[in-house]
Symmetry: C2
Subunit: 457 residues, 2 copies
């Protein structure tokens, strides 16, 4: 009965909830770029103020980087912690956006109504599904469904440098019975998902330096070493002809999936062609002999995220570059140990750097993969609650992305996590023209109300 | 007698000549960047006005790109054409300049006085050595030494797109008995040089495209093709383990140097370690089994001048790039045919592009190598004139750089060229902190006066 009233309340308040989200999306809280640090701070203030309207004691908590927002509210039943992040990705290449990334709007498209703007899906829109569910609950019942802690991070898109120290320094305050994390997606638009495995992430930046300045390729071409060539050779050597990563020991701690999970995944009927066709591609380009779902959920990768050297402007400049840099990341699975692989990668790169060049490394995050405790009964309760809201039964899925927070919660706070999110594959997170379906937002809020009811019944 | 008076005049007028050069250097005539096109035009106006003060009928002549400056003056004896270029290279990375590249100044350094600024050596300072020699000659004699044509180009640093059509359209007007080109260097600070072979240049830009947008490397990493990896593999494959270029047919028209030239070059005692040590390097990095002078003067090369893909800003972005680009240039020697090699290169690249990617090519110039007519007696006359000015006897040298104009003069106007210049290896042309030695400028002007006297005696 009371859940019904909450769901009705949610349905009636969607326009106001959208206004709130829109004002939140207007704040360009790009955490990786120091030019936006005031904006990141402003987004934290916005959240503190919004939580306060729910009667939640919330505060901006300083770190060495961007602040955390933490809020608490008492109640009976289980103690749940909700996590989301309020920072967003950079927007370049800006010229590919069809509208200002920080002037959000609800647009009618051929696939339905969407909320357009940077952060709409990753993760401000998702974060607000939970907050709005709480608001409706409070409005109907006069109180929230249980004891709740809110933790909103401002550095998720820049490697979370302050997260581990913050969790360690505040472990007693933050430890709950279960963490709810909203930063993941649906399996497909009809099928909600609980993400039960996450790939880890190891980020590395390498810079090769040759001569002490850029040289003229006429005067020095042929005799002087070219760091761009050295870098290309290194990058090209990171995969073999079968698409396997060549870093020594890379597959040591990677095991095959249990047959049961493998079978369940086959039953999902993942359509590789449709998934790739969405972004203009046709053929899976990963390891030979692996299915598409394996490539994105359960196999590790090595990708070049950026590469730069020499003259890259308009026209042509016959320069022989002094430096060449690449940003390279690894998605990790199973028991792969990020710090060990970092050393192995660096050793491999060093062995390919010729005598007249030097190499510098900068690490950008190192988080292992994470597997959830699906045997805990709350997972089945939540799955049923989600199945009640959506056309198809909810699925336990893997995720190719890395949400290191789940690993840290387990490691530092001894707390299990449950990942539920409503993003779609075509949301263009991290890309131009990011969007979040209005249906994701609306049914996402309703889903959280159902999950809260199920977990606190 | 009269040469002596001209040389004295030159010595006395150096401060004023420096003032003129300084005002010319202040104009940021970067031809490759459309943002500077008004400045390129202003530099052309500056030259027209300066030539007029010598009684030379000069005009700015329109092309589809930046204008040519052409001037004529009558006289008896041989008809000489003088060529230089008034455009300059871009200045990035600007943060490595120790002063504003377009605020030129004469600085005292541990190796003597230098003129600092973009274009000081390449090619405004060099161009003005000839103009100042003419000015002194005219001032002493009341007229110039012979019939002269001046041709100043504004697109040399951006592939000379208008040069060939302009030479074709004005061949009768521009054809002279011999072209004098001042855009080359000394063999060493004591040894002036006449450059008797030039490498050709073939410029290519390739862009590989995969997905129709940048992707999230968590959602798509492993299944979607990464154009940066494709590009790295292509670039890495352009050389074999011995440093030889792998483009099919690349060495077909490359022959070994005649023993006589080889012996003369050995006698020059080129110091590889000193040459490389100047820029922080120690080891020749070209083809195995070749000397340093061969690598820069008489062997062809393939170099990456720039490469870019994905996120290259501050911090880290786990993007899977949609595009990856490289600017690649080839220095050509002997009979290598640039257009044939362009096709061969493109064919090789196409064969390495996987089905889900496309490749686009942009050509940036294609000029064959060029060998001068050293058996013409004027070469020995000029060599003796240079030997009279400098501590060491002048040398016939090769050049690793490409000055396509000499090839075009021969091909289109049937005119031989003589390349004399006073740049030094440490002038940092095309790099931050470009300079031109005051000695190069002063003795360069004196050298031209001597060469003019020798060729018109």
């Amino acid at each position: 009965m009371s859940l019904k009233a909450v769901l009705s309340k949610i349905d009636g308040e969607i326009p106001i909830a959208l206004d709130r989200l829109t004002s939140f999306l207007r704040i360009p809280s790009i955490s990786t770029d120091p030019a936006f640090s005031d904006d990141v701070d402003r987004a934290a203030d916005w959240l503190v103020s919004d939580l306060s309207t729910l009667g939640i004691a919330a505060a901006k908590r300083p770190t060495n980087g961007h602040p955390m927002v933490v809020g608490h509210v008492g109640g009976s039943g289980p103690h749940l912690l909700f996590y989301g992040h309020y920072d967003v990705q950079p927007v370049d290449p800006i010229e590919l956006w069809s509208r200002d990334p920080f002037d959000p709007a609800v647009l009618d498209t051929c696939r339905g109504r969407v909320i357009a703007g940077r952060g709409s899906s990753d993760d401000k829109g998702q974060l607000m599904t939970f907050v709005e569910a709480c608001r409706a609950w409070k409005s109907v019942h006069g109180h929230l469904p249980c004891r709740l802690t809110f933790l909103f991070e401002g550095e998720e898109e820049s490697g979370s440098p302050s997260l581990v120290p913050f969790l360690k320094d505040n472990s007693d305050e933050l430890r709950a019975d279960l963490a709810l994390i909203c930063d993941s997606g649906m399996f497909d638009p009809q099928t909600p998902a609980i993400t039960t495995s996450l790939r880890g992430l190891l980020g590395e930046e390498i810079t090769i330096t040759g001569a002490d300045r850029d040289l003229h390729s006429g005067s020095f071409g042929g005799i002087a070493i070219n760091p761009a060539r050295v870098l290309a050779r290194i990058v090209a050597s990171l995969h073999d002809e079968k698409g396997r990563v060549t870093v020594p020991g890379f597959y040591d701690d990677v095991s095959e999936l249990p047959d049961m999970i493998e079978d369940q995944r086959k039953a999902l009927g993942f359509d590789e062609s449709a998934f790739l066709g969405e972004v203009g591609l046709a053929r899976p380009a990963g390891e030979e002999g692996r299915s598409g779902l394996e490539m994105i959920w359960s196999r590790p990768t090595c990708e070049v995220n950026g590469i730069s050297s020499g003259y890259t402007g308009e026209g042509f400049k016959t320069v022989l570059p002094s430096k060449a840099s690449a940003k390279i990341s690894f998605r990790l699975v199973g028991g792969q140990r990020p710090l060990r692989l970092r050393e192995s990668f660096r050793e491999m790169v060093r062995s390919m750097v010729p005598p007249d060049c030097t190499v510098e490394f900068t690490g950008h995050g190192a988080a292992p993969a994470c597997t959830m405790a699906t045997d805990d009964p709350s997972f089945e309760l939540a799955r049923n609650a989600l199945s009640d809201e959506w056309p198809n039964e909810a699925a336990f899925v893997g995720s190719g992305g890395s949400i290191p927070i789940a690993g840290y919660f387990k490691e530092i706070l001894g707390m299990e996590s449950m990942l539920i999110g409503f993003a779609r594959d075509d949301d263009r997170i991290h890309s131009p023209n990011e969007k979040y379906d209005l249906e994701s937002f609306h049914k996402g809020i309703r889903s959280w109300a159902r999950v809260l009811a199920a977990l606190t019944q």
